[in-house]
Symmetry: C2
Subunit: 225 residues, 2 copies
DNA sequence: CATAAATAATAGTAATACTATCAAATGGTT
DNA sequence: AACCATTTGATAGTATTACTATTATTTATG
């Protein structure tokens, strides 16, 4: 996918655009694989360079550090989700339909092959699921925010906020509801695999999807201006 | 607080119990302060040792690494929340009352001094808010889980699950609802400070509390067995 | 074919994340 | 007060990480 669609990522999220060179594209592809495999904490530019038969110095020409690399993946992923949701909802006529379809896409398990185009998309999804929030929850958040790394995520939340307000203009907490659902869904999938006592999702059901779609429906119709 | 109440933390969450020596207690107190100040990523045992005029080697006698130190704080914090919620709800007669009171305690902002006993409690709360999820979201989660580090968190979720099922025995997603609320609330407070476009909480309202209490009420009464 | 740009190769530094050893201090028995 | 065990401090050392700098080589472009 990385190779096929060019997603807009703000220019401060990298030193040199990795989507415009062969090495850059390799960095993204193999970087996704490596993080998915060993996790963000154990991931280093040295390991990535070795994996693609390149050098640390070359990687550093594209990204300041691994934090920025994660920001890039984060930004790319949300740009991609924006695009995907746009494609799938463009033909729909009601905000309700659009919203439900979006929530379905945002909450579905990353092993649901349905609508996943390439193996790398599944791995990126799994990274964002497990590591994505680390791009946000840190002491540099304000500076990262200024770089634009969260723009695609915000755009998605804002688009969906509009749909919510179309349905119920008096609903007071649209952004809160949406981020609760998006990040909650990520967590539930992680819990399902590792901490089953903390969730009701299992491999035999699709509780996450059902729960959050039902959640958004009941919440929006709750009038609380 | 660390000094006043002894909270049960599983013994595999440390090498040597820091609650049983002067140096250990200092580690916890000053460690909380340091992480709150510089963040988990920048936090090192060297810096902590320097801060308390001790040595790196001494810190390593208590904890294997900073990941385990965070696990200790995580476990301690949830033990403490368990205790607090128990204290505040013991005299209540209905599950509904207990649940609402708990959600209030779990979702309130960490600058609400209300019911906070010491300055360190506020800082620990703020750490769990921002860094707590990092104790969970990593590749060692299964091993950490076996150490018992998440036990206090699970116990709280299970206690509250019982209350939910008391109110509505047919509700299918109690754990999912609870973890969604607990972790969602943490995120909303972080967003309120750093990414206001992603939340509806601000310093002028207490939207998080209101939203999640309303959320749990409407969800539980939704029949979806 | 010339030349600019990108990459590779190599080297080096400071900080991090530890482990090991031994000396000094402390605290509780007899 | 002397003894012993435990805890802590002091010091040293290693492998890895997180970078930066320099120069040589390859690759793309006009």
């Amino acid at each position: 996918m990385v190779l096929e669609v060019k997603i807009a990522v703000p220019e401060n999220v990298y030193l040199k655009d990795p989507q415009q060179s062969k090495l850059g594209l390799q960095l993204i592809q193999e970087g996704i694989e490596l993080i998915d495999e060993i996790g963000y904490e154990a991931f280093t530019f040295k390991k990535l360079a070795t994996k693609i038969n390149s050098t640390e110095a070359s990687v550093y020409r594209y990204f300041e550090n691994k934090q920025q690399f994660l920001q890039f993946l984060f930004s790319w992923y949300w740009g991609w989700m924006n695009y995907k949701i746009h494609m799938e909802t463009a033909s729909m006529s009601t905000a309700n339909e659009k919203l439900k379809r979006s929530i379905k896409l945002l909450t579905q398990s990353n092993d649901v092959v349905d609508s996943i185009t390439t193996p790398h998309e599944a791995k990126l999804k799994s990274i964002i699921n497990q590591e994505g929030i680390k791009a946000v929850l840190n002491k540099n958040v304000d500076q990262i925010n200024q770089s634009g790394a969260f723009e695609n995520y915000k755009l998605l939340v804002e688009k969906m906020t509009c749909w919510i307000l179309e349905i119920n203009p008096n609903f007071a907490y649209p952004q809160m509801l949406l981020t609760t659902i998006i990040e909650g869904a990520h967590l539930q999938h992680f819990f399902a695999t590792h901490l089953p006592r903390l969730t009701n999702q299992s491999s035999e059901n699709n509780a996450v999807e059902l729960f959050y779609i039902q959640l958004i429906c009941t919440q929006i119709t709750t009038n609380n201006g």
